[in-house]
Symmetry: C2
Subunit: 618 residues, 2 copies
Amino acid sequence: MPYAQGEDVVAGIRTPKPIEKLKEEMPEVYEQLYNGVKLIEKTKKEVQDVEFTIEKGKLWFLQTRNAKMNPLAVLKTRVDMYKEGMITKEEAIMGVKPEYILQMLYPRIDESKAGKPLTKGIPASPGAVSGQAVFDPDRAVEWSKAGKQVILVREETKPDDVHGFYASVGVLTSRGGATSHAAVVARAIGRPAVVGAEALQIDYSTRTARVGDVVVKEGDWITIDGFTGNVYVGKVPTIEPKLPPEFFEFLDMADSVSVFGVRANADTPDDAAIARRFGAKGIGLLRTERMFRAPGRLDLFRKVILSDNPSERKELLDQLAEMMKRDFLEIFEIMEGYPITVRLFDPPLHEFLPNFEELVTEVTRARTLGKPDPEKERLLARVKALMEANPMMGHRGVRVGITYPEIYAAQVKAIVSAALELKRKGKHVDVQIMIPQVAEVRELEIIINNVVKPTVEEVFKTYGDRIDFKIGTMMETVRSCLTADKIAKVVDFMSFGTNDLTQAVFSFSRDDVENKFMSKYLELGVLPYDPFVTIDEDGVAKLMKIAIDAARSVKPDIEIGICGEHGGDPDSIKILAKVVGRGLNYFSASPYRVPVARLVAAQESLKILGKAPKIHIY
Amino acid sequence: MPYAQGEDVVAGIRTPKPIEKLKEEMPEVYEQLYNGVKLIEKTKKEVQDVEFTIEKGKLWFLQTRNAKMNPLAVLKTRVDMYKEGMITKEEAIMGVKPEYILQMLYPRIDESKAGKPLTKGIPASPGAVSGQAVFDPDRAVEWSKAGKQVILVREETKPDDVHGFYASVGVLTSRGGATSHAAVVARAIGRPAVVGAEALQIDYSTRTARVGDVVVKEGDWITIDGFTGNVYVGKVPTIEPKLPPEFFEFLDMADSVSVFGVRANADTPDDAAIARRFGAKGIGLLRTERMFRAPGRLDLFRKVILSDNPSERKELLDQLAEMMKRDFLEIFEIMEGYPITVRLFDPPLHEFLPNFEELVTEVTRARTLGKPDPEKERLLARVKALMEANPMMGHRGVRVGITYPEIYAAQVKAIVSAALELKRKGKHVDVQIMIPQVAEVRELEIIINNVVKPTVEEVFKTYGDRIDFKIGTMMETVRSCLTADKIAKVVDFMSFGTNDLTQAVFSFSRDDVENKFMSKYLELGVLPYDPFVTIDEDGVAKLMKIAIDAARSVKPDIEIGICGEHGGDPDSIKILAKVVGRGLNYFSASPYRVPVARLVAAQESLKILGKAPKIHIY
């Protein structure tokens, strides 16, 4: 418990004595003080800053107020007070702000390796991050597309620059305060930011920033610390915060009162391990696309796409299935015992082919030089044939599953084989196969009956063994929501893909919208917040409610979750708990957001159950 | 009334005498026959084929059945029977099949100018049409994109060829019958088709079709007649069918019982004139994009898009507004007295810029030759900056209105100026300004209050006069439907844009879907019909019902229409009448579909009102 201090101490006039001195000097007064503070805290249910004075051996309490503590201290205190019986579990859970959990998890600068900062600005959005300096937003987009990690450096920012924010891992400005455009936008979209670093002299014409003699050129690595405002030259290592046992204890307490589960969106063994450590009870979304892009596989998969010969395609896909099985083995083992929702292939095929502009350039160059390249020309023709006007709404997801059933079959083979191999080792894998982009129940029926079931039976035969598995669908088209009663009849589970659903409800292509007009919309107040960050209550959440009601009307116990990015956003969880209540069974969040999702899910559960304490004590 | 014939006549054994002969030869029997047939028709309420015999001066009726008549005869008979008091108006209206109306309107070959057909096949899908022959579907797409009018010529077609159907104005095959793939798909998507023209020898390798000595090469013009199966070399003129006064009388009868209005989608004075002639009571959708593409204007508009200077943009747009005013004057005058719904600018801006691939090719060629073209490079950079990943869901419609308010202001200025100039001439124009792509009511509020109203007031001041006008929105995003109660409060009317709404509900980009997998979906029965042709009952119509109920809950009398292509599709009108009943006030159809829409709207009205005769007498 913190020491109580008097006005003079606060003002810095006197230097306080440690409280232990009092125990030695006036043991009785100490005893009175100790009991008095205990009583106050028991009443206030909060750690207290207590002012007191001792006049002629008599103790006078002058003032008491809730203590100011850092997030970790708040959390530890809650756990302690609960264990001491001073507060209930519910009071402990409601007594920690969700943002505290987020703050505890941000990576921090490794001070031991940081060296001297170049300069210091105002810490405007939390997190520490390194990137290559770029001085205009278009360059940020360009470099980011080329796979670089960039920090946008500007004197100040305007709405026109916002596409650069999205493309950058962090933002640094030389002007403006904590409510400047740069600061507000960076916080809104979750980018670490340091603003108003006034010692920084930025010269757009030479693409440099200077502090005294030190010059940062475009492309140089810098590191910014959104907690302290420090700016460093170079790539300063960051460290994961150390989390005390109380952190995990507290979240277990939260789980124990929650009506919602929390799973993770995890595509790799690393993701899965982090998610499990942070208490995810399963994987709510395992995207499989990267399994086709991994080194050595992309070429194989390109051959599949370019082939006209079904038996050649089958053979290539068999090779891919074997490789993918190994991926699944690793992840399944980590998440053993929990449900793992694997989403079958989702993106449009042409994403796996070479870049169109580059091909046109190469073909034109070769032609102009009088040396046409027939193979490139053929490839260009195929890329053009596969290209789509609006790939987001094109030939993808279950539509590819129906037109190229061998792709889904290869994936199902890999998944079920992996589960059976683990079963041989005595490990239980709870597999859920999820079919994306469904708009009509017949799509599901065809995939389930003509692709999944026959493939699964074949694998069962090969292994001479069986497993139970579930089949479900991602609810990410509007029509799937409007026909959820029909869909519910043929699936074991549903999971809302709120990223795509938000796109469809608004008719907003996320990439285009964020580049072209979202900042203007937020600036003018057309939208109160970015609906891709926090779920849209009037549109998307309302549609989810329609879908959930329809689904539960025919299958009351069907498992329904959400696996869009909103699943880890505290405000979205609150909105969804309000709009659909217990209609959802779980939230699936990115691994680092699992802890905050667990807390918010528990807090919202208490509200739904009418068990939340009347007064929030933070 | 048709002549009665006996079995022998049908069998061709005897040649019948004209009925007038009977009147001369046996006036009494003729009198008996006349009265008898009248009585039968009065009872049957249908023109009859009556078989009779006269034996020794005595008349015997042998058999009677409903007469087989061509569509025009059916319609004329209905009107006659109604006028003679034999049937009620309702019976007359219900007694004409909607497809008869469609068939009466198809253009036909001008036989006087047709010459000898090259060959003849099976008439598989009605209509006569000319186009340049192409022998593969990819070429059809390519040429069609280049603005050519093509007819797809194949031995037979497969689902893989369907993108070629959409790109062609007609289809010709040398094999297959009336239920072949080509025939079924052509009918489904409304393309004239002749199939199984077996004399046609098609050689894909030389891209030719031959009948005897006559060779049709790729690119040669041909004409097909889907009524007769005739195939002609060259561009044979087609003629509009001659419509008797009964056609218009009948449709006026239909209107008189209808609870729905019918308007037209018309962008040009020609469209407006046809629509008015066919009885459209106004324009439900006047798209304004072509006003920016017309010769002499595209260059101006490109300068607007490429300019960074707001005052330069304003000046260029003032010039455009003056030109557009002349367009509006023409159309408004034709539709005088009826409501005219003008949709403000809708497509993404980059559609107005040069083709990306061509620019890349030109820039690369110039660079490779060592003569880079700085202006082209600058243009390419700008085109790239404006390009979008999914333009259908990108920076378009009201979003452009908000980011480039001067474009909407220029349009509003042109519209209101035109209406005021006509008012000076004593003509009344009922203007409705429609804002597209709205997803959130604030978008509307901003456009109405910050753009439309100030602009209108300025124009009023210039002309020293005022007009009444309405402001409304196109309901084409899912979110506008889900928030229709909020939107209804700020607008005078709503009109469903069911093309885009269908895209959003299914997450189907129409172009991509029709090219890539729609045929497979129809073949497998994933979808019972193409939802872009006939409205999707379970998804789109259901969402419209949600929207209409919400809107009417706050503004019961708000005007609500539909202006997607479905507005002229008989099946869609039936589905919508069933799902939303009188929730819709009008259907807006393309000009040639106005008559059929009027009939179906009337027939559905009778059903809604409970006034439809029990038995349909066709």
